[in-house]
Amino acid sequence: MSSPNSAYPDTPATRTKPKRHEWPLWEVFIRGQHGMSHRHVGSLHAPDEEKAILNARDVYTRRNEGVSIWVVEARHIAASSPSEKGPLYEPSESKVYRHPTFFDIPDEVGAM
C-alpha cells in the first residue's frame, strides 16, 4: 500500500500478506472556522471520496468542529524522509498539521 514516499511505512506484515479487500485509508483535513486554513484532524476508512467526506463529517465534526472538509487518500500523500544525518533532529515543522498544540485541552480533563 505504500510507495517509497508515502506517509506510511511498509512493514514485513503488510508486504507478506495478500492484498485485502479493505476500504482505503483517508486523511481528513478540516477548516474549523471561516478564514482559517484546513488542519489535519485524523484518518478514517471509506470506499470512495464521496463516502470519505460523509464519513469525515460524521466522525470528525460531532462537536461542530468544522465548516469545510478535505479528504485525500493516505497513499497519495507524499512525505519528506527523515534526515540523512540521523534520526535525531527531524524538524517537527515539516508536519505542522500534526502538531498537538492545535488542540485545546479542557481544564476539567485534569480535574476529574
Binding site: 471509506a46 460523509l54 460524521d58 466522525v59
Partner: protein, 253 residues
C-alpha cells in the same frame, strides 16, 4: 375534532415518527458493519431524538395536560402512538435499515420544507432547525442506497428485497385524513398529497442510480398515523423503551 385536538395529533405524528425511528436506528449502536457507519447511524439517531424532544415538547404544551415530551414518549400505549407504520418496521439487515431510512428521509425533507412556511411560528422554527439535519440524512441514506444497489450482486439483491418489503408502507405517508385536512386549512401543515410529486421524483432518481426497481401496485398499509392499527412490532419496541418508567413510576432519573 377541535382545532387543538387536531394540532396535538399532528405534532404527535411528527414527534412519534422521529421517536420511533430514532429508537430503531439507535438499536444499531455497536453492531454496524463498519465503524464509520456505526458512528453515522448514531448521529442520525441523535438528530431524531433531538427532534422528538422539540415536537413532543410542543405537543405537550398544546395539549395543556401537564405532559412533557418524556411523559408522552414513555407513558402512552400503542394505540396512542401516531407514527407511520414504515418507521416501526424492524431493522432487518443493514440494507433494510438504510432503505427504510431513505424512504422516510425523502418524505421528511419534503414535509419539513413545507413546514418551514407554517402559519404556526413554533412549527416553522422546529422545521427550520430539523431541516438542516434531515438534508444530510437524505444525502447519506441516498448515497448508501445507491452504493449498495449498484454494488455486488448480493448487495443489489438485498436492496431490491428491502425495497419490495418496505414500499407498501410508503403510501400511508401521503393519504390525508381529517387531521391533515384541518392542518392544511389552518396553514399549519401542507396538503400531504402535494408532497408526493417531490417524493416520487427524488426517490425515482436515487433508485434509478441504484439500479433498483420500484415494485408494481399501489397497495398501502395504513393505520399507524391514525393509531387505529399499528403493527405488532411497535408494542415490543415500547416494552423496551418504556420499561424503566413503567416499572418504577414516579422515580426521577
Amino acid at each position: 375534532m377541535t382545532h387543538t385536538a387536531a394540532y396535538f395529533e399532528f405534532l404527535c405524528r411528527m414527534g412519534d415518527n422521529t421517536l420511533v425511528l430514532g429508537h430503531r436506528v439507535s438499536e444499531w449502536c455497536g453492531h454496524a458493519p463498519v465503524l464509520e457507519e456505526d458512528i453515522a447511524l448514531a448521529n442520525t439517531a441523535l438528530d431524531l431524538i433531538g427532534q422528538t424532544q422539540m415536537w413532543l415538547g410542543l405537543a405537550g404544551e398544546v395539549e395543556g395536560k401537564n405532559r412533557d415530551a418524556d411523559k408522552l414518549a414513555m407513558l402512552r400505549d400503542v394505540w396512542d402512538f401516531r407514527n407511520c407504520l414504515l418507521v416501526e418496521q424492524p431493522n432487518g439487515d443493514f440494507g433494510q435499515t438504510m432503505m427504510r431510512q431513505f424512504l422516510f428521509d425523502v418524505w421528511h425533507l419534503a414535509m419539513l420544507t413545507e413546514l418551514k412556511n407554517s402559519s404556526e411560528q413554533r412549527v416553522a422554527d422546529i422545521a427550520a432547525k430539523a431541516i438542516k439535519e434531515v438534508m444530510y440524512h437524505v444525502e447519506r441514506s441516498g448515497e448508501t442506497v445507491i452504493g449498495l444497489g449498484d454494488g455486488t450482486s448480493e448487495s443489489h439483491a438485498r436492496m431490491q428485497k428491502a425495497l419490495d418489503l418496505l414500499w407498501p408502507y410508503v403510501g400511508e405517508l401521503f393519504i390525508p385524513d381529517a387531521v391533515d385536512i384541518a392542518m392544511a386549512e389552518a396553514g399549519i401543515a401542507p396538503d400531504l398529497g402535494k408532497l408526493r410529486d417531490t417524493f416520487d421524483a427524488q426517490v425515482g432518481d436515487v433508485l434509478a442510480a441504484a439500479t433498483l426497481t420500484i415494485p408494481d401496485g399501489n397497495f398501502a398499509h395504513k393505520g399507524g398515523r391514525s393509531g387505529t392499527q399499528h403493527s405488532e412490532h411497535l408494542g415490543h419496541l415500547l416494552t423496551q423503551m418504556q420499561w424503566l418508567q413503567r416499572a418504577y413510576p414516579g422515580a426521577t432519573w
